[in-house]
């Protein structure tokens, strides 16, 4: 009981802290905008530069780095272990393993860099950069908070809001495959090569279903701009329920979430790494080059969580008590609450990814392709047509929302139907027929 209360206290404190943090970020962005105006540029130049620092360099990197620790601690919790607790601050406090963040970074930075002699020198150096930077840049278009007026300036909590929003996401997500592939190829190692080939096949295939799964969302919200999408998700559709992506596009959500998993190359899609089979495309890397490849994976987890939250979980809308909050809070504070709600959603999604990563075994190469081309892609295409027809029939989206409700009920129904009956022993032939439906629902 004490721990339970403590847990909620910590979560509450974190949320309050996030609100404070984002209020400060808004203020900083406004200062940046003022400076830009003073220098004769449009205001958003300044706020974007400030946001690039506060959101990408501070928030994203901190969350990604904390995630390395969180993964260790959470996997330990799932496996009845204690996890990282050997670094004691002041000789006494393990602080939940957070100091490992520094220790890990220090280790990576000071480790000896070893190279295979027969590597392709330039590409070998280039690969970690290519793996890390496109992933990192994805975050630029993610709208963290709404646009509010601070210190006389309109500032938004995003680095850039290009009209091509989602297309930017596809373009850059497509680039990150080069880093992985080149890492395996340039290190001139056969297992590295195998990992690289697996990675390229997997990532390029899943790119297709990743893109297709978002077409439905684009149709529903009639935009590809993520900020516009976030605003559209605040509109009520069935009674007081807002038109969040999860409600309108449950199938799209499942396909997107699964595909994004494959893009992050984490279990159950971690065959490019496959630590028990081929050790992976980064086999020959050491020191901070390995660190970059390693961190890229975690950054990817956070970013795909962020995009999922932005597109499917209502963006920065806090959803609960939104109207009350908007009416009673100062606009800046409301913006900060929204941004904190967004980050909370991202953290929830990364946590979900951690659970799945430690729960499920790995697919095989051909199964992963079958899942993509035979299940996810057709599902996404059907979703596109259904969405298109529904939006055409009823532009108010209400019909689409009801279709979404039916889909959610169906998915839950299928999952429950194929769930193991209590006490029954699993026969070899039982449960063959349900195919991948349960599996997709599991995601």
């Amino acid at each position: 009981m004490k721990r339970f209360v403590g847990m909620w206290l910590v979560i509450g404190a974190v949320l309050v802290g996030l609100v404070g943090l984002f209020a400060a970020f808004y203020a900083l962005a406004a200062l940046g905008a003022q400076a830009a105006v003073a220098l004769g540029f449009p205001g958003f130049f300044g706020s974007s530069i400030v946001n690039a620092i506060t959101l990408m360099a501070v928030t994203l990197m901190t969350v990604a780095a904390l995630l390395t620790v969180a993964e260790r601690k959470w996997s330990a919790a799932m496996q009845d272990r204690i996890g990282a607790n050997r670094i004691l601050v002041g000789g006494k406090f393990p602080l939940g393993g957070v100091p490992y963040l520094l220790a890990d970074a220090l280790k990576m930075l000071t480790k000896e860099s070893t190279f295979p002699v027969a590597r392709s020198k330039f590409l070998f150096e280039l690969a970690p950069v290519l793996a890390f930077s496109p992933t990192f840049a994805l975050f630029a278009v993610v709208p963290v908070g709404p646009e509010v007026r601070v210190l006389g300036q309109q500032v938004g909590m995003w680095v850039a809001s290009p009209d091509a929003g989602l297309l930017w996401v596809f373009a850059l997500a497509g680039l990150s495959v080069y880093g992985t592939t080149l890492a395996g190829w340039a290190s001139n190692s056969r297992v590295g090569m195998l990992g690289a080939v697996r990675a390229s096949a997997q990532m390029i295939s899943y790119e297709v279903s990743l893109g297709m799964s978002l077409v439905g969302v684009m149709i529903a919200y009639k935009t590809v701009n993520l900020q516009a999408m976030a605003i559209a998700q605040g509109v009520d559709v069935i009674g007081p329920i807002p038109a969040i992506g999860l409600l309108l596009q449950p199938l799209g959500f499942l396909v997107f979430f699964t595909s994004s998993f494959a893009e992050t190359k984490r279990a159950p899609f971690d065959l490019p790494e496959g630590e028990s089979e081929i050790v992976g495309y980064f086999l020959e890397y050491s020191g901070m080059k390995f660190g970059l490849l390693f961190l890229a994976e975690f950054v990817e987890v956070v970013i795909l969580g962020a995009i999922t939250a932005a597109v499917f979980l209502g963006g920065w809308h806090p959803i609960f008590f939104e109207g009350w909050l908007k009416a009673h809070l100062d606009p800046v504070l409301f913006g900060a609450v929204c941004a904190a709600a967004f980050l909370a959603k991202v953290i929830f999604l990364t946590w979900l990814q951690l659970i799945i990563r430690w729960l499920l075994p790995r697919f095989r190469y051909d199964q992963i392709q079958a899942l993509c081309w035979k299940l996810l892609l057709p599902g996404a295409i059907v979703n596109v047509f259904v969405t298109g027809a529904a939006v055409l029939a009823d532009p108010s989206l209400e019909l689409l929302a009801w279709i979404g409700v039916v889909e959610i009920v169906a998915i839950f129904g299928i999952t429950l139907a194929v769930a193991r009956p209590k006490g029954a022993h699993a026969g070899h032939d039982a449960g063959d027929a349900h195919g991948h439906a349960a599996h997709a629902a599991g995601h």
Partner: protein, 411 residues
Amino acid sequence: MAKDTDPSPLDAAPVESPLDAPFPSKRMLVNLGPSHPAMHGTVRAVVELDGETIHGMKLDIGFLHRGFEKSCENVTWTQVFPYTDRLNYVSSILNNVGYAMVVEKLCGLEIPDRAKYLRTITSEMHRMCDHFTLIGAMGLELGAMTVLIYAMEARDLLWDRLTELCGARLTSNYARVGGVSRDLPEGWVEKVERTLDHSVAMRNEIDKLLTRNRIVMDRCRGTGVISRADAIDYGFTGPCLRATGEPYDVRKASPYLVYDRVEFDIPVGTNGDNFDRYLIRIEELKQSERIVRQCFAQMEPGAITSDDPRFVLPPKPEVYGTIEGAMAHFKIIMEGILVPPGEAYSYVEAANGELGFYAVSDGGGRPYKLGVRAPGWNMLMALPQIMEGQMLADLIPTFDTVNMIGGEVEQ
């Protein structure tokens, strides 16, 4: 061994029309091991890959060769026991018992009932340890590391109980010629029963995580298949043979110790694939637990070693108190027990299958010759055939489910 530079077959697809561009592809030799996360112990597999498909595989074993058989010829019969611990190091008592039985067969020695029960109990507990290790490792090979940790928890609790009994976690050295080394400590039975309850909980947890898991089913069904006829030809025994449908278990086929007095079933598979091997091991965990509990109920107090002074050390008070005792002790320790001349083969059901010991005695204090039939050997030799045409990713779990134990196979 084919080298990389050898004229590798350029597997150009047959050109069917002039428009087909021949695309020569080369097969790739990949070295897995000897130090590789998937290779238990140290064994090397040289795999010839066409894409991800295995075309030809060579196994290179011997990195763990210790000269077991030769070493045994240089020590007395009783000093062999610690060496047998290192055969299948996950379930050492099964090896101890197997070796003790061949010596007893040569000596014509009958062991007391309680010793039989103790041997059965500890053997079955070690069988559970072995199966837990294997199932956990299979989870690890498939990428489900959580399963490994759960299995390790169950296994280590069982090992803890055996440590209380034998004094060592891994190298138990528990059996003796004519009986066992120690009786049960006080309160041990209740503790073991609690541990068994816990292991049942862990087993159910693993069962829930894996057995109906879609990915596990996809990965394990129909991979690593060997037919019943092939399995018999290769000399498979144990869970791998039973997975193909052949209900052969030494404990039933030729009962030893007290296996004829306890009730248990022999699970049999149908397909001989990885999934069947996994299911059989889950089921055998249940059966082993059943045997242990029955033994606890049936066991009665009594002597734990035979009292034949030719083969068994005299009790300590006699050693320290009487000249005869001291001399008998000295003779047995220094000279070794004098096993009557002859040869014998004795076999038990170890965790991987039939573990046979073949011993020849010339009447002296040391084995003249000792041979081991390691169950893992036959399974390992079949691996290249099993894996032909399958995918690289399937090699790893198959390597696990046939359960090659370096210490045993390479001796």
